[in-house]
C-alpha cells in the first residue's frame, strides 16, 4: 500500500534521535489517535537549520513523513522551512494512501511547533508562523501498568 519512497524512509529513517539543548522542540499529535511526532531543531545565529532530529510513535506513514520532513528542512533557513508543507512532504514521498494524509499534516505541524518553540525561547517573532494548536503537553498523562 506504500510507495517505495515511503518504505525506504520507514526502513531507514533519516535523522532519528534527539538534540540536546535544541534551539527548538515541537511535539504534535496525540497517542489516542496513534501518532505522535517530536522534532528537534538546531538553529544557528544566521537562522539556518544546522541539524534536525525526530522521534515518532506511529504507523509506517508517520515515521516516513517525519523522516522526509527532517530531510526537507535540514540546511534551510527558517523561512524556507516554513514552506515545507504537508503537500511538499507527500510529493517528496511519491504520495500516501488517502487514510494516511493526516500523517503528513502532522509532520508540517511538528516543524511549525519546533519553530514556535525556538521563537519563544529567543523572544522573536517569525513572520507567517502561527501558534501550533496541537501539542501533547496538554494531553492527559500516559497510563502504564
Amino acid at each position: 500500500m506504500y510507495s517505495e519512497k515511503v518504505m525506504d524512509h520507514f526502513k531507514n529513517p533519516r535523522n532519528v534521535g534527539e538534540i540536546e539543548n535544541a534551539s527548538g522542540v515541537g511535539t504534535v499529535g496525540n497517542a489516542k489517535c496513534g501518532d505522535i511526532m517530536r522534532i528537534f531543531l538546531d538553529i544557528d545565529e544566521d537562522g539556518i537549520i544546522k541539524d534536525v532530529k525526530f522521534k515518532t510513535f506511529g504507523c509506517g506513514a508517520a515515521v516516513a513523513t517525519s523522516s522526509m520532513a527532517t530531510e526537507l528542512v535540514k540546511g534551510k533557513t527558517i523561512q524556507e522551512a516554513l514552506q515545507v508543507t504537508n503537500k511538499a512532504v507527500m510529493e517528496a514521498l511519491d504520495g500516501l494512501p488517502p487514510v494516511k494524509v493526516h500523517c503528513s499534516l502532522l509532520a508540517e505541524e511538528a516543524i511549525h511547533a519546533a519553530l514556535w518553540d525556538y521563537a519563544e525561547k529567543n523572544g522573536i517573532k517569525i513572520e507567517g508562523l502561527e501558534k501550533p494548536k496541537n501539542d501533547i503537553s496538554e494531553e492527559e498523562e500516559e497510563e502504564d501498568y
Binding site: 489516542k32 496513534g34 501518532d35 505522535i36 506511529g58 504507523c59 515515521v63 500516559e142
Partner: protein, 393 residues
Amino acid sequence: MKKMIYLDNAATTRTAPEVVEAMLPYFTEYYGNASTVYEFGAKSKEAISKARETIANSLGAKENEIYFTAGGSEADNWALKAAAEAYKGKGKHIITSKIEHHAILHTCQWLEKNGFEVTYLDVDEFGVVKLEELKKAIRPDTILISIMFANNEIGTIEPVKEIGAIAKEHGVLFHTDAVQAFCQVPINVDELNIDMLSASGHKLNGPKGIGFLYIRKGVKIRSFLHGGAQERKRRAGTENVPGIVGFGKAVELAIASMEDRSEKEQKLRNYLMERVLKEIPFTRINGDRTNRLPNNVNICFQFVEGESLLIMLDMKGICGSSGSACTSGSLDPSHVLLAIGLPHEIAHGSLRLTLGADTTKEDIDDTVDAIKEIVTQLREMSPLYEDYMKKNH
C-alpha cells in the same frame, strides 16, 4: 525466497493439500448441477450430502439443520436479519456484545436503523460477557441473543453453555458466531442450547467463500436468498460443490486432529507468551489467560504502534495482525481492545499472532527474537518512551 512464518491463522488458513485434492474432481470431472435428474448430477448431490453429514456430526446436529452459505459473514447476516424478520411479531429487541465481529455488529446497526433495538453487552477485562448483565438485559420483547463462541482478536472463549441456558430459560433464541471456535474446541449444539451457529471454511484449512448456518429444527427463520429450491428452499443458488466438498473434508481432518493439535498449539502459545513477558518490558497479554482459543496470542507493547511493528515483522517474513487504528482503516483502534478497557494509546500497540498446525518451536523462537529487536528499535524512536524514561529515571 526468504522463509515465511505465517502467524495469522485467525485471518485465514492454508487450504490443506488433502482438501484441495478432494475438491479437484468436483471442478473437472463431476461438475454436474446437483439439482438435475440425470445420474451425473447425482454425483454432486451425494458429495454435498456427505459433507453435510460430516459437519452435522461434528456438532451433534442433524443433517437437515445445516445450511451452506458463502461464508461466515453471510451466515451471520442471515441469522440476525431473518430471525428479526421472523420473530418481529413477538418483539424487536436483540442482545449482542460489544466485541462481536463486524459481520454481527454492522448487521445489528442496520437492524437498529430498521426499527429494532439492540443491547450491546459489556465484557470484563478479559473479554468475557457479563452474565448478570445479560440476564438483566432480557425483556419480554427480546427475540434473539447473539454472542460469539470465541473472539477473533483476543481469543477469549465465551461462557456459551451458561448463555444457552439463560436463553432457554427465557424462551429467547440463541445464535453464536463460531467462526473462530468451530473445530478448535468441541461444540455440541444440544448440550449448549445453541439455536443457530455460524461457521466458515477458510478458518480451518478449508476453502474460502464457503460457510454454513446451523438452524435448529423448529426455528422459524426463512430464506435469505430467494430463487431455486436449494438448501431446503432456504438458501437459493446452485451449490458451490467443490467448496462444500472441501469444507467437509477440512472438518473431517480438523475434528480428527483437534485434540493433539490444540495441545501442541497451546504449548507453543504459552511458551511464546512466557518468553515475551519475560524478555520484553512494558508488555501485557490481552484476553483470558486460560479460557482462550489454543492458537491465539494477543499482546500489547507499550510505546509502540502496531502498524509499524507489523511492517517490520513483514520485512523479516513474519505475518501477524494488529488492532491499531492504522490497520483498521479508521482513527480508532480495535473495538474489542477498547471494550476490555485498554486506553487508546495502548490498544494501538497490539499484536495478534495466531498459530497453525504447522507452527514449530523454531518459528516461535525466531518470532520472539524478531519482536524483541523491533520493539527495542521502535521504542528508541518513540517520544512516548523517551518521556516515560525521563520521568522515571
